[in-house]
């Protein structure tokens, strides 16, 4: 068992709280991705798990063992750094064998483990090379290899793909997913790229300002975001949000006075300010659906198989609608956007989902 359990973890630098009451369980063999905007504390949380950052309070266990006061080496973790952090003065083999040598692993065992990792990662022809003679993708694989040979309980990845170019990033993403299946490893992975998060994760943890906003399976977060922050963070382009006021008869009025008839949740009281949200991909052109929005076309981004129409409502707010193919709209043209009511998300005044 190599479960990671974090309980009420807090960390502060002086008066600045970087992590607040973090409760998180990473089940044995699961792939957990921490996402959030920069400065949200996701890297700090990862480094705390690694033991590279001391924590202020709370407890952490890895595989049932409390690790709060243990140095990184005794936590049975392996970390893959964003910058790879390969030892420049050693060849690929020594880079991978280095940690094992200091753990007094027998020579034959080291050899076997390094060769096994090299085979998995297709590094065999590169074992005698120095890091500076490798390409970015190869360095990345060596960094992962260095983690694998240690046979850790938990793998920690700190934005491992952000230094790779776009094509290589997609490849490596798939490789990491395969690797996870093959090794059945427990992985905690930090990224700011939500595509990485959605495709790799068994569980996504969305963080903001040192707090966990929501954690759950990727599609749960997509379909049932717990609050406006998560709703806006997951999905690209981001969800559209419009302010509205609840009316007596169950309908809501938008800021510009347009009335929408919909089943308001029972918790919503008349006169209450709420936020309605919907994703660009759920809209249809020409408004033949339950709900309609009138606006003028500001700009159209054409991506080929689809496009994004930016519409300005009469209130001045902008919403984005996804359109299939070439919509044949002109800039400045008035148009209607339709939306099925089931795709509407409603949030209360505090930004929490009803």
């Amino acid at each position: 068992m190599s479960e990671v359990k974090i309980d009420k973890l807090c960390k502060s630098y002086g008066p600045v709280e970087v992590l607040r009451d973090i409760d998180l369980t990473v089940e044995d063999g699961s792939f957990v991705v921490l996402v959030g905007p920069s400065g949200c504390g996701k890297s700090t949380l990862l480094r705390s798990i690694a033991g590279l950052e001391p924590v202020s309070s709370g407890s952490m266990t890895i595989g049932g063992k409390t690790v709060n006061d243990l140095p990184p080496a005794q936590r049975e973790i392996a970390m893959v750094f964003q910058s790879y952090a390969l030892y420049p003065h050693m060849d690929v083999y020594s880079n991978m064998a280095f940690g094992l040598k200091f753990a007094r692993t027998p020579k034959a065992e080291i050899d076997a483990r390094v060769n096994e990792a090299a085979r998995i990662l297709q590094l065999e022809p590169l074992l005698k090379r120095r890091p500076r003679e490798l390409s970015g993708g190869q360095r990345q694989r060596v960094a992962i290899g260095r983690a694998i040979v240690r046979k850790p309980q938990v793998f920690l990845f700190d934005e491992p793909l952000s230094n790779l170019d776009a094509a290589l990033r997609i490849n490596t993403r798939v490789e990491i997913a395969k690797l996870h299946k093959m090794l059945k490893a427990t992985i905690v992975y930090v990224t700011h790229d939500q595509v990485e998060a959605m495709t790799l994760a068994d569980k996504i943890v969305v963080m903001n300002k040192g707090r966990i906003e929501q954690s759950g399976e990727p599609l749960d977060l997509y379909y049932k975001p717990a609050n406006i922050f998560v709703a806006g963070f997951i999905g690209s382009p981001a969800m559209n949000f419009l302010g509205a006021t609840v009316k007596k008869n169950g309908a809501v009025t938008l800021v510009d006075g347009q009335e929408l008839k919909l089943k308001t949740p029972t918790a919503a009281k008349a006169g209450q300010n709420i936020t309605i949200g919907f994703r660009p991909e759920h809209t249809t052109l020409h408004g033949n659906k339950d709900l309609k929005f009138k606006g003028t076309v500001d700009i159209i981004e054409r991506l080929g198989e689809m496009g994004f129409a930016h519409l300005r409502l009469s209130s001045g707010q902008t919403i984005i609608a996804e359109v299939r193919g070439d919509p044949g709209m002109d800039i400045g043209a008035a148009t209607n956007i339709g939306l099925a009511e089931e795709h509407l998300h409603l949030f209360d005044g505090n930004g929490n989902r009803f």
Partner: protein, 275 residues
């Protein structure tokens, strides 16, 4: 791309400077192979079969004490380089990597050591060495030289250590290395070029110094070669053959050390560590 004309001018200036710098050294070496009369008769002439003589070298190597002065110089210089590099790198690592209470103050204290010439403290140093019963020992010289060279070497090595990516040290910590092992197996190999630089400019003033050998180890067979040569210089008679021969041979060990260290001055050793 530079213009050929300006490249030419630069080279002419550099060649002239090289000739100027090498002239006294060549003169010393040339005259060390000549008989006494020829040294004074035609100091700028090359040795000819009629003026060629090895009498100076005979005297220098025939004198056992001169040989032991060489060994003294090599011991003092070698030990000073070793301790300066080891202690300097360790202190630089501690001052850069660890945040402790008196860190900034200690760095400042060491920086003062760069500014204040150690010779101002000569009297105090003599008293100290006498009290420690170290007068006329090589240990006295090694201690003083190491202390003299530490501040600047710490200063320079700190700069280089600060450039080692933080991720490397943390990767090593995750790999289970102790702080000592991180220092010896990660930090030291990566600052080798900087250490070679420090070694070169530690070595030359120490090898050439006359001041401290004269004060701290003037007798008892513990003289360094620069001091030892002085025995050939008299108030009334100076044995120029021996002086020139000793000076010529004194260049060799320091030249060998320089060649060793300059090979380490390879740039870009850290490239490829991080992107």
């Amino acid at each position: 791309m530079r213009k050929p004309a300006s490249t030419f001018v630069v080279h002419v200036i550099l060649i002239l400077y090289t000739i100027l710098a090498l002239f006294p050294i060549i003169l010393v070496i040339m005259n060390s192979f000549k008989a006494r009369k020829a040294i004074f008769g035609s100091p700028l002439a090359l040795p000819t079969p009629s003026t060629f003589s090895l009498i100076g070298y005979d005297k220098v190597f025939g004198d056992n004490s001169i040989v032991s002065y060489y060994i003294n110089s090599i011991t003092v210089t070698g030990s000073t380089i070793f301790f300066t590099l080891l202690l300097g790198a360790m202190a630089a690592w501690a001052l850069t990597e660890y945040k402790f209470r008196w860190n900034a103050l200690l760095t400042l204290f060491l920086a003062i050591g760069i500014m204040v010439p150690i010779r101002l403290g000569s009297v105090a140093i003599i008293q100290l060495i006498v009290q420690m019963n170290l007068i006329n020992t090589l240990t006295a010289l090694i201690l003083v030289y190491t202390a003299q060279n530490l501040p600047l070497s710490i200063f320079i090595l700190s700069e280089f250590i600060a450039q080692i990516p933080k991720d490397l040290r943390e990767a090593a910590r995750c790999d289970g290395l102790s702080e000592y092992n991180i220092f010896f197996f990660i930090v030291l190999p990566l600052i080798r070029p900087a250490m070679a630089t420090v070694a070169v400019f530690t070595m030359i003033p120490v090898w050439n110094d006359l001041w401290f050998p004269l004060l701290l180890a003037p007798t008892g067979g513990k003289q360094t070669i620069t001091l030892g040569i002085q025995q050939f210089l008299g108030q009334y008679i100076t044995d120029w053959n021996a002086v020139l021969a000793a000076l010529s041979t004194a260049i060799i060990p320091v030249l060998i050390l320089y060649i060793i260290f300059s090979r380490q001055l390879i740039r870009g050793l850290t490239s490829g560590a991080v992107k």
